[in-house]
């Protein structure tokens, strides 16, 4: 994968992450924040996979697996709290 192509991918993903983060900061309600947290988490999962690929270390994928599997727990708990079931 050439240098320019990986730079393009990194800029696209970083811009997506930054935009979701701006919504997370400037949002007015908690539901907005939870949605933005969900989006930022998934974008950063892909960012981490790309960084593991660029570093060339397959054992870093374990971290991404844990991250993808467990970061949804936080969003699920926030949703349960908003429902009043926690």
């Amino acid at each position: 994968m050439s240098n320019t192509f990986s730079l393009i991918l990194l800029v696209l993903l970083g811009a997506g992450f930054a935009m979701a983060f701006i919504r997370l900061v400037i949002a007015r309600t908690a539901g907005d924040r939870a949605v933005a947290l969900d989006g930022a988490t998934l974008i950063s999962v892909d960012l981490m996979v790309l960084m593991a690929f660029l570093m060339g270390r397959s054992m870093l994928l374990d971290v991404v697996l844990v991250y993808a599997l467990l970061s949804f727990l936080g969003v699920l708990a926030i949703a349960r709290y908003l429902e009043g079931g926690l």
Partner: protein, 108 residues
């Protein structure tokens, strides 16, 4: 082989563009339902395309990347579903121009 690698590059680019657009949608959409639409569907599709593309470029990573994609497919719709149901109960998130509310009728 070179064909698969080229396909992988195309899939990577598609996934990255989808993820960037979903970030833009989270930032720019007018209310929380539209933001949810952008922030959950587009990220799921973009993630699947991204994992597949990376797996095509480097085939020995493909099983683990597919497991990551499987977990994303399992978990992300569930969390966004729970979030949508929860936000539906919050009164100040209700949009002004709402014509018809099927979930309200189904619950009551």
């Amino acid at each position: 082989m070179i064909l698969l690698s080229a396909l992988g590059h195309v899939l990577l680019l598609i996934g990255a563009i989808f993820l960037c657009i979903s970030g833009l949608g989270i930032l720019r959409m007018p209310d929380v339902w539209n933001r949810m639409h952008a922030g959950t569907k587009a990220t799921t599709l973009g993630s699947i395309a991204f994992m597949l593309g990376l797996g095509l470029i480097r085939p020995e990573w493909l099983p683990k990347l597919l497991v990551i994609a499987l977990f994303i497919v399992l978990t992300n719709p569930v969390s966004s579903h729970a979030l949508a149901r929860a936000v539906h109960g919050v009164p100040e998130e209700k949009p002004d121009n709402l014509q018809r509310d099927d979930l309200q009728e189904a619950d009551s």
